[in-house]
Structures are given as C-alpha cells and as structure tokens.
Symmetry: C2
Amino acid sequence: MRKSELSSYLSFAKKLINVSEKIVKQNTPSKIKVNFKIDRSPVTKIDMQVEKSLRKLISQKYPEHGIFGEEYQNKNLQSEFIWVIDPIDGTKNFINGNGNYGTLLALCHQGVPIIGIINCPQLKKRWIGIKNHGAFCNNQKLKKVSSNQSLKELFFSTSGMTAYQDSSKNRKYRSLAKKTQYITFGGDCVQYGLLAEKRIPFVVESFLKPFDYLPLVNIIEETGGIITDWHGKSLNFNSNGDVVASISAKAHKQFLKL
Amino acid sequence: MRKSELSSYLSFAKKLINVSEKIVKQNTPSKIKVNFKIDRSPVTKIDMQVEKSLRKLISQKYPEHGIFGEEYQNKNLQSEFIWVIDPIDGTKNFINGNGNYGTLLALCHQGVPIIGIINCPQLKKRWIGIKNHGAFCNNQKLKKVSSNQSLKELFFSTSGMTAYQDSSKNRKYRSLAKKTQYITFGGDCVQYGLLAEKRIPFVVESFLKPFDYLPLVNIIEETGGIITDWHGKSLNFNSNGDVVASISAKAHKQFLKL
C-alpha cells in the first residue's frame, strides 16, 4: 500500500475516533438506562449511538468497505478493507465510572490489522498503532523495546471475566497466578495501552471478540510486544478469543506451555 | 464534640491530603523501583514518602494523638484521637497506571471514625465524609439516599484479591457471583467513592486492614449506605478485614446470609 493511501485511512480513522469521543463525553452513563444482551453483558444507549454514527460515516466515505462491529450486523465482510469497531470496550467500567473504558477501532487489509486505535476519554489517553510505522500515545511516538523477563519476574493484568466461575479457562489463570508476582484486575482495553507504554508487562484474556482484540495488534507489535492466541498464533477474525499479550518473548513462550 | 473543634480537625485533614496529593503528583511511578513486602504486596518509595510526611505533620500539630498507618509503626494507640493513613491504596493500580488508586485518611474519636477522606489524584476525585455532617465529592454535597434493590437486581465490585486462589473466602464470592448480574473488578478505594455517588451498588472485599476501611465509613454512611464486616458488625480497629458495603439494606442482609 502506498504511504499516501495509508495516510488518508489514518486521518479518517482519527476523525471517527474524534466523533466517538464527542458522543461519549456528551453523555453521563450514571443517568443512562443499562440493558442486558443475550450473554448477560451490559450495554447502554451510548454504545449503540457511537457505533451507529461511525458506521454511517464509514458507509458514506467508503461504501465498498466492510464493517465489523459489536452492536449491529456485519457488512461487506468479503471486502479487501474491513473497519472493526468496539464502541465502548469496558462497558462495566463505563457504567460504574472508574474510567477504564474506551472506544476501539481497527482497519484491516486482507484480514490483517494495519491501523489500530484505543481511545480512553476519561483517562485522556489515545494510543494509535500503524503497521510498520510505529505506535503513539497522545501523538508521542512510543519506543519499540521488549524485555527478557520470565514469568516469575512480572505481574499480570486481566479483566477477571472468569474469576469466581467454574470455567475450564481458570486452570490456566490459576497456574499463571502461581508463577507470577501478582495480578491486577479490570483494565479492559486500557491494559494494552499500558503494555505498549511498558507499565504492564503481561495481559491475559479469554472470550474476546475480533472487535476487542484486532484494534490492539498494531499498538502492541509496533512497541516491541507480542500478541497472539493461547497457542501462539497470530490473531485474526477467526481466532477463538483467548488472547495473551506481553512485552517479553520469554514469558510469552512460558505461558503457552502452562 | 463542639462543631468548631470538628471544623479544625477537618481543615487539618484537608491540609494533610493536599500534601499527599502534591507528593503523588511529583512522582511518576513508571520510573520508581517497586519493592515487595512480607505478604508479597508491592510498595514504592512514594507510599513511604507520603506516610512519612503526614506523620510528621500530625506529630507536630497534635503530638498526643495516635497514628495508625500502613508503612510505619503505630503510635499512641491509647489516645482519644487516632489518625489513620493509607498512603497509597491500590498500589498495584498506581504502578500500572490505570488511575484506580488513592490516599486514604481517617480521624477516629474513641475508636469511631468521625472524618474520612478518599483522594484520587489521577481521577481528580476527592470524597470526604464527616460523621453526622454529610459527605462530599469535590466539595459538592452528596445526597443521602438508599435503594431497596435485592442482590439479583444489582452488580458487585471487588478488587478480586482472592480470585484464582484456593481461598476459603471464595465460596462467598462464588455464591454472590451467581446471585447478582455481573462483577466489576479492580476499583480498590475508588469503588467506595463511586458507591457514595450511587454508581456502584455493592462492594465486597476481604483481607483489608483498618487503614483500608476506616476512612470509608463516614463517606458511605453519610450518603445512606451501609458498611460492615461479613457478619453485619460495625467496622473498628479490631474487625477481621472482611468488608461489605451497599446502598441497599435488603441486598446487604441477603449477602450476610449467603
């Protein structure tokens, strides 16, 4: 892809994220009714409103592009380009007010993410990753570095989705908890931005959807991190939703073997 | 206690919190070495520095008062007045940068909290409760209201300290998870401020220390909430560290019976 073409997609992606931020800031979730989806996860009117607005803008500008979003039906998934939208990642934190939520956006070319954005209005953080062109936090370029830590030297972060459940996934989390220093909980999309900044060394999640993980790929890889499924495979639209991200190849390998 | 006496303690408490905020803001934990305490919990130089500074100011102003803090030895615990300090509650979040940490301060009179403060510099939130005189968030008085929700109508928040561990406490968390809508994780002290604002309806924790829970009491009670141990008893210096806070007396009772 020519650099000028990538640039125009990037400007458009930034425009979309600015629109999402405006909608989120105009609404206080404390006064918004919370509904529940079939999987019992909460959703607000703001989630719907953000996604609807972004879909409309994409369809106007690039009518042939595909759209893969959380709240509405997917569109043109056979297209060369697919926009991936999670209007509010961390809806539970959005509702409770602790600030750890954000809008996620990716552009995929032939199934591979080439632009990824995590935008967190309350924390005032915007992380952007561009395939082969680096990653940025609030417009400042992030260094591309990795560590050589082993699991026992680091802590890990997770949203804790399966904690206190009889989930078979928990075997892996329990093993990891025993082999690491400690756990921090509840960061949702914020975790990956902090991993790109080397504040968090390791993140593990399960039951994610493509709109939860595809926007993270460029941000993490362009800062020297690794993000794969629990078998070490690259993430794509057909991944099973188990995700591990790390700043250390060594720790990453140790996790895969747990 | 005369109102003027209470007022002067309150002004002094605010002064202490301002000092703590200044120290926290001057330091970026991303560059600070993290050490581990005997219980494997992390601690930074900033934790130590905040507590040291507040202790010095208290000892100068009220040399006869007691001090109960996280990082240094307790002092004059037979005194009528005891200051309770948690220099950084949520140290793990402080280190990883997600914003959910704060400085906690209480003044106890004959063992009962009469002033409590939760101060969260990164979230720009300061909650203050004064026994029989209301509670405030960023100087705005919070309404004293409660709900009549039952457990099945609400979600709960916890720091997740025992998740993925074989802790006997987990029986209670698992029962609660089954009876409520969903769990949010990782709020630490922020959870209780959001409970006072009615953004979070229910918080459950275990293994807390007096400096973790005594500063919360006035903030929660003065906004119509309930905070007790897991047997429904009022919190004091000798409580066992299992804490439950709620905006609903009904849900609170249901929890005690789980």
